[in-house]
Amino acid sequence: MLWLEYVTTQRYTRFMSASHLCASQIQIIHRVEVRPKSGCVDVRGSSLLRRVVADSGVAPELIQHAQVYFFDGDLNETDLQFISQQLLADPVTQVAFTCASVVPKLGCTIEVHPLAGVTDPAAESVELAVEKLVGKAVRVRTGERWDFHGTSVAQGESLAIKYLANTVVQAIHVAPYMPTQFPLGGARAVQVKEIPLLNLAHDELEKLSRQAHLFLDLPEMLAIQAHYRALAREPREIELETLAQTWSEHCVHKTLKSRVSYTEKSLASNSPSLLARAEKISGHTLGKSGELVIDNLLKHTVAAATHSLMDTTKPGSIDWCLSVFVDNAGVIAFDDTHALCMKVETHNHPSAIEPYGGAATGIGGCIRDVMGTGLAAKPIACTDVFCVAPPDAIVPKGCLPPARVLRQVVAGVRDYGNRMGIPTVNGGVWFDPRYVGNPLVYCGVVGVLPRELVRGRVRAGDRIIVLGGKTGRDGIHGATFSSAELTDSHADEFGHAVQIGNPVTQKKTLDAILAARDTNNKPLFHAITDCGAGGFSSAIGEMGKDIGALVNLDRAPLKYEGLTPTEVWISEAQERMVLSVPVANVAQLQTLCNDHGVTMCDLGEFATPNQELILLWNGTEMGRLSMSFLDTGLPNPVREAVWDGEWHTRYTPTLHASARKDGAGLLDTLCSLLAHANIGSKAWIIHQYDHEVQGTSVIKPLVGKFGAPGDAAVLQPLTHSTRGVSIANGLATGLAADPYIMTLAAIDECVRNLVCVGSDPTKIAILDNFCWPSCKDPRHMGSLVRASEACLDGALAYRTPFISGKDSLNNQFTTESGETIHIPPTLLISGLAIVENVERAVTMDAKKAGNMLVLVGLTDARMGGSHRSMLGDCAGMDMRLPMVDLQVGPKTARAVAACIASGLVASAHDASEGGALLAAAEMAFGGDLGVEINLHAMACEKNIPIAACAFSETPSRYLLEVAPENISKITVMLADIAHGVIGTFNNSGLFVVGQEQIAVGALRAAWQSAGENW
């Protein structure tokens, strides 16, 4: 009984009890260890050692890694030999033992194992393999063993906490772990549970809401109370949970859709007032005391822009938007036969607690949104934008180290996207210390589908069919959790909201769904949606909202026994899709699922006599809700919004003085900017993503021979056509001091990026993604209003309709000491556009010595929020925020697009972070060409400082490389748009500005330095 002396940590037992798992019968568990053969490199061990040395200097003499597998089942010696030697170990490079090998004499052994109930994809694979190869059903769990030589147990455990384990989902064992049995759920008596609230007072209702993690505010709780008083009965638990999920911020965007009363307390220097909009714009009225009243903010700003642009009574109305705001993703026309859709999601709170699982399930969920668009779209590209704290930020208790967060988030997106076989083609990272408690993880997905399949409709009598993953206790309360504010104890409180995905389950499900869509000449299903936030409750609730649904919760396949009906109903277990399937097609769908190894179940039927949601468990009614109350019962109070420009100056970006190099010259500053975390190379991230899979990539994230930063991705979705789609993002968080100005800049940047690769400027669709601090604070509500109003103005000016959007509010973190860290208001604008012919696409790397460099757009002196200003030493700078001119910006974009379309532009790059000089440097080192720059030749405001010419981040500016013989033609095409020839490329290998010069290679090195040591 050797393993009796093995220790397991408190964390393990704590979580066990927390997740209500109870023991099965005692049974011997077989343990197998797989490690590299002597003489073969231990890659995992040695690279961990490298990282530890790099970080701390002091490290173990040696770190060895081994994979650990546990088997619970009737396996004889022969089976174990086969499994360990032939299935688990590679005979050329690895050895396997069917025991726990000895702990290093002068050192320790640390093991990391997933906690009970946490998805373990490797274990699922091994179970499948053993069943197929040995013909026996076993239960498997996996873990990792690390032998630290020359290290105490205490040191080993702290290394594990720093580098290896997240105790929210994993247990750390300080010796080889030998479980006596696998924790298993046991069947539990199910009873209908009522939650008495008819007679609760206001404070008691609020208390209930918080304690039950409903996160409904008082008016909402009162609406529910009134509803049940009318029904003369107490609500049942499952009904209350359904309301909480459906009415959650995450599911209904109640803040953005609310009626808002907006006033202005103070305007910072150049921030425009919005009060004059009253009575001029639909849905905007003047309140009694002069305030601006907006009835449904989202409807009358973001959505209004789209519907106005699509208004067929207006000349030149846009006819290529096929489905906006109604489906899981927005849909636009690609060509006569195909449509494109795009969705961008955030997964911030889960990523704060468990970055790897949070990011992976973030991209996974967004992929499911696209799979669930129309009658199923095929995902063809992913994008990712992260906002995190710089590695040197101070880390409050309850937050993970920022460097670990970023590495883990990248790994999560990598492992999910790559395994799904979807290229990740565009993204970015923005650093600010205020993201330390709330990292932002934006995941975008683009899909393609046949035009005739853009809309699905549930029919009465259809079966409610679920495809994909089994349901477990993971992800309970994810939707309501996103309404919570994070605190130093959130990891313990919300561990259950975090999950690990299994991408291959989802890939199989996608294959089966596409087969079900295409096998016959028409799909086997009438409608499809994904199980995201709220799980079945929102998916089925949404699909059946007009006709009702009868759901047999007991029929859902479970990961383990013991889930209550409510847990089954609201679990956000990953990789599940809900289909509305006519009875006649169920059998054929089942066959397809069997071929693809996909689990399918029939939960019930759409439509009930009184359009109700009826939830059964083995025939017993667990809950019954009126669909109309669920859909329309949510109260819509007036929200107070105050714009306080002075107060908002707190959101100007903080200094990154550490990046500042000595020397006062323009080129010293240029090198500091190139090395700035926001601007510097992201190659270490990009190379971890498969951006080639599916073989569609035309313009990749890094362009030119030397891997310079491209402006936008271009894909060719269909092999038989050279028509393409471009994908880009715009983010201008540096201007967060006024979200109105920030939003216009983000839209302009997104458009610039798309135009620079050769997109058609009249076929650009955009998406909004708000990540805000809590809007219960009227000042944040005020900045949300300003951003929304800018969405309206920007979209109309650029004629770029919003086709989909999302918001994540409450992004603030309260530390142990009670201090609240708000993130800067952050708005990501994502765009996709049509590229008529990918063979005419343009990249930003300079092509040819002798070609000239044209700067298009008027440069002004405003340096507020610029990266130059983040370097500090700003004496004498004009610190106002640069503002998009809504006449000039769109006009410039169209003119530049025309120049590119004419084929006269050898390379094009947008001047954004860091300014025009930095953009020119990127073009030069991208093409490994020298260039001589004359800043005085640029079109700019009268007598502005030379530093502003170089580093101002004035929007709506482009750099074009043009052959000398074509300059005159370009000048004609640009007509009255300000521009100047600011340089000529050459073969000198030198970057020359006035009297200063530096080797182009040195500029590239400075840019690359930002990507080192990750």
Partner: protein, 288 residues
Amino acid sequence: MKSPKALVITAPGINCDLELSQAFAAAGAHPESVLLSRLIRQPTLVDKFTLIGLPGGFSYGDDIAAGRIMAALMRKEIYPALAAAIERGTPIICPCNGFQIAVQAGLLPGPAACSAASSSMNESMSINTRMSCNQQLEEWPRIAAAPMVALATNIGERFHDAWTGVEIPANTRCVWTHGLSFDQDCAMLPCAHGEGRFMTDSNTLETLEKNGQIALRYAAHDNFNGSMNAVAGICDASGLVFGLMPHPERFTRWTQHPWWTRMSTTQRAGDTLGLSMFKRAVESVVGP
């Protein structure tokens, strides 16, 4: 030219079957994707194809090791059908996950039956001598051989996506690569894998080198995964079975090249390296 049928074997987690089919089609073949589960029910399906592809991806999740489960299933269920196909002279390409599967399923480096006989072969070896070598290969063992080479975790630990320069050894007997030559900028292929470090014992490596069974190498400085002798791809003694970590099926159009916008139209004339490989194989079964 009548177009030969190409079998593309898919399974849960395989995700490069589409581009592989498209590459076969672009080279003039008729691709058909078939799930491994169906082949297991009906191994004789293999017989009606004259070309075979094992696509890339993450078969069955690649959670234990890349290709492990798919390889074990193929050894157990359809290895004899594949061995028979090779004896019939069926070219088989195995990019990335396909390569990882092939080396574990006993398809590569394959039996050394004609290695002695052919070790003297030099770069001038023609399709015909390859066929004559193939004749000596009637007896592929019906039990899959134990793995002799491995594709281990990249030396840098992480999954890595990059275009790498590649070189085709002059003495290779590989049907897919023999005699292909491109200038430096065009002799490139995309790689995207976490487990691609080619490893074997020194004797096997020497035999493979001597036999012309090294079908592809990474160019100097591009061996990012740390493979022995910069081996990027190998073939069996008949030259029919070709496994490689790079993805030729992702380079069948010039606009897929990472700096095609820097290339002159003359530089972009003709077939890409990837497409040329597939055309080689198609020609070898239908004649030029």
